[in-house]
């Protein structure tokens, strides 16, 4: 009865091999193909073909195929890449630490108001980047909460929405819901008896955290970290709204495309950016062996 993986057979490749009636007579190959047809058509026409064309578009630039190297050779682009990478990595680390503690706490404790807290923390999951940018303005802009409080306390308005700190806060804002959800999902799978066992063997609290909780959470942390990183790399709306002086890569692409009509460079940079995020997510799947949970990806 062992016949799980039809793909490992020896027969010559054919559609009926993949969709055949080999195991049972439940649906014909034609039915399976009919079921897939609309989805395949959409993806082929509006994703695969454009992807190929955009990759070829790069060759139409002044430097031909060498345009692909522009992200490394051009100082402005390279600097922007490094800045974006550092920013995304930094946000990922901070979000993981904060959400690791809070997520674990929310899973392991029951108290009144808990579900309200969870609800509030995951609220911005599908806020577009622009709204997140606006939230940063509300928090740290000229009329922002931080400014008003600091004005009342020390008589000076602290405003940092339009600096790198503001962008960082914005990235953190849209990362928190995603990471919290992922951490809570893997914390729920963690068997509390493991902790009890460790404590019964005399382990102090910090050792329980180090030896049991962290290793258990690690796959969840890694995969949610990857999603967080990938989202941050591609985030555009927040930077767009804050209009800061730092050039994150998506902003550079946007400027090249719309203001400078430099389509080849914009295409090359897009592909580079897409490749980085895709590699990051694939690496995680390879490492953790499970798909990063899409549900926590959200908008932005």
């Amino acid at each position: 009865m062992a016949l799980q993986n039809l793909g490992e057979g020896r027969s010559r490749p054919s559609f009926s091999r993949y969709f055949g009636m080999s195991r049972s007579a439940m649906a014909s190959p034609a039915t399976f193909m009919a079921l897939m047809a609309p989805g395949v058509a959409i993806v082929a026409a509006f994703f695969l073909i454009p992807l190929v064309l955009v990759a070829m578009e790069v060759a139409n630039g002044p430097d031909g195929w060498a345009t692909y190297l522009v992200i490394l050779t051009n100082a402005r682009y390279f600097e922007s890449l490094v800045q974006t990478l550092l920013m995304s990595a930094g946000v990922t680390v901070v979000a993981l630490i904060l959400c690791g503690i809070v997520g674990m706490f929310l899973v392991r404790n029951r108290f009144s108001g808990r579900s309200v807290l969870i609800g509030l923390l995951t609220l911005p999951l599908s806020f577009p980047g622009t709204v997140v940018g606006f939230m940063v303005i509300m928090l740290a802009g000229r009329q922002g909460a931080v400014g008003s409080i600091s004005n009342a306390l020390i008589g000076e308005k602290i405003v940092f929405a339009y600096e790198i700190a503001g962008l960082f806060i914005g990235y953190l804002y849209f990362s928190i819901p995603r990471v919290i959800l992922a951490v809570m999902a893997s914390a729920e799978k963690l068997d509390p008896q493991l902790e009890e066992a460790a404590r019964s063997l005399g382990a102090p609290r910090w050792r329980v955290v180090r030896d049991v909780i962290l290793p258990g959470l690690m796959p969840g942390l890694i995969s949610s970290g990857a999603i967080c990183f990938a989202t941050a790399m591609g985030a555009f709306g927040t930077a767009f709204t804050l209009a800061t002086d730092i050039d994150v890569l998506p902003m550079v692409i946007y400027t090249e495309f719309t203001r400078n009509a430099n389509i080849a460079v914009a295409a090359a940079l897009s592909i580079a950016l897409g490749l980085i995020t895709w590699l990051c997510l694939s690496a995680v799947r390879f490492l953790v062996g499970e798909k990063a949970d899409l549900a926590t990806r959200g908008g932005a």
Partner: protein, 390 residues
Amino acid sequence: MNATAMAQPGSQTVQTEKTGGTRIELAGCTKTFPDGTRALLPFDLTINGGETLVLLGPSGCGKTTILRLIAGLEFPDAGGKITFGADDVTSQSIEKRRVGMVFQSYALFPNMTVAENVAYGLKVQKVERRERDERVRAMLEMMHIDMLADRRIDQLSGGQRQRVALARAIALRPRVLLLDEPLTALDAKLRVTLRTEINSLLRKLGITAIYVTHDQEEAMALGDRIVVMQKGAIAQIGTPREIYRAPRSPFVADFVGASNRLDGRIEQNSLVLGDIKIGLEQIGHAVEGGPNGHHDGNTGQGAADVYFRADGLAICTPDQGQMRGRVEAISYLGEKSRLTVSGIGESAITLDVDPDFQIAIGDDIHCRFNPERLTVFGRHSNARNAAQTM
């Protein structure tokens, strides 16, 4: 169905040809999975109309595959032929075959109520509304679940689900009822109750039924005939009594519960076990074995396997004893105690004693054979290799 047809499942003279049910024939069927696994070796099998046939065997023996061939969930390799009465259904898929099927996990539709589940097949067949309701009601009443009609499936107990699954399968008046280990998911006590219910239901309906199980007791209780399967082949077909008392191979003997085995020899019409000698004419069931199966009581020479259940040996006084053993373990089972005894064969032997019999672990006991409870297989017999085409 007339009452005489409801023969005792255990009786030798079971009347297998009943009226009313569809006769099913599988001819020259084999099943090879696409990865090359041979699930079923070539076989023929006939299920008489109205008969309850049990497919019995360990997991992976091919019993479920036969059921799925009959259901139309799998198709035999080229050359095989399946007929329902005069109707050749070989290439028909399951939805055309008019079979009723009860699955191990019940496969009840969670999106429908009990009544909707039972009505589903009738709806598919476009049975007119009024008649459909009537038949559903009758089915639910027959299965004693009419009070559950509007319940959701996840609100039912295992036993109730089992009844719904049965009602759903028979509501369409199928040509054959196929039951795939339907009681496995239930606890032991409920299994026995439902077994009895299914038994009387099958006899009341007079429907042809094929029942797959790995439980020997269930097979005995339900089957008009039992097919014992081993590694993709039929090891033996027979009434429960034949299977139990006259297993054709060591595999069948072992599978139907003769778990004690001793090495012996057959010499001049006698079974020789160490210094004990028992005339073959006293032996309950001896298979010398030829190329075409068995003939009881025949003689041969050479090594033999002796199989017997816990009743094949009896404790006796030292002077009557044929052999001596040492008690290794005692399980108190209520109506009897089961002893594990070493020193008689190579491996430990189990035997039953009166529960009030005073004995302790480490005691020596004397016992003697109960010759009519022994099954002897000559070792050069083909039957040792069991599986043969029927």
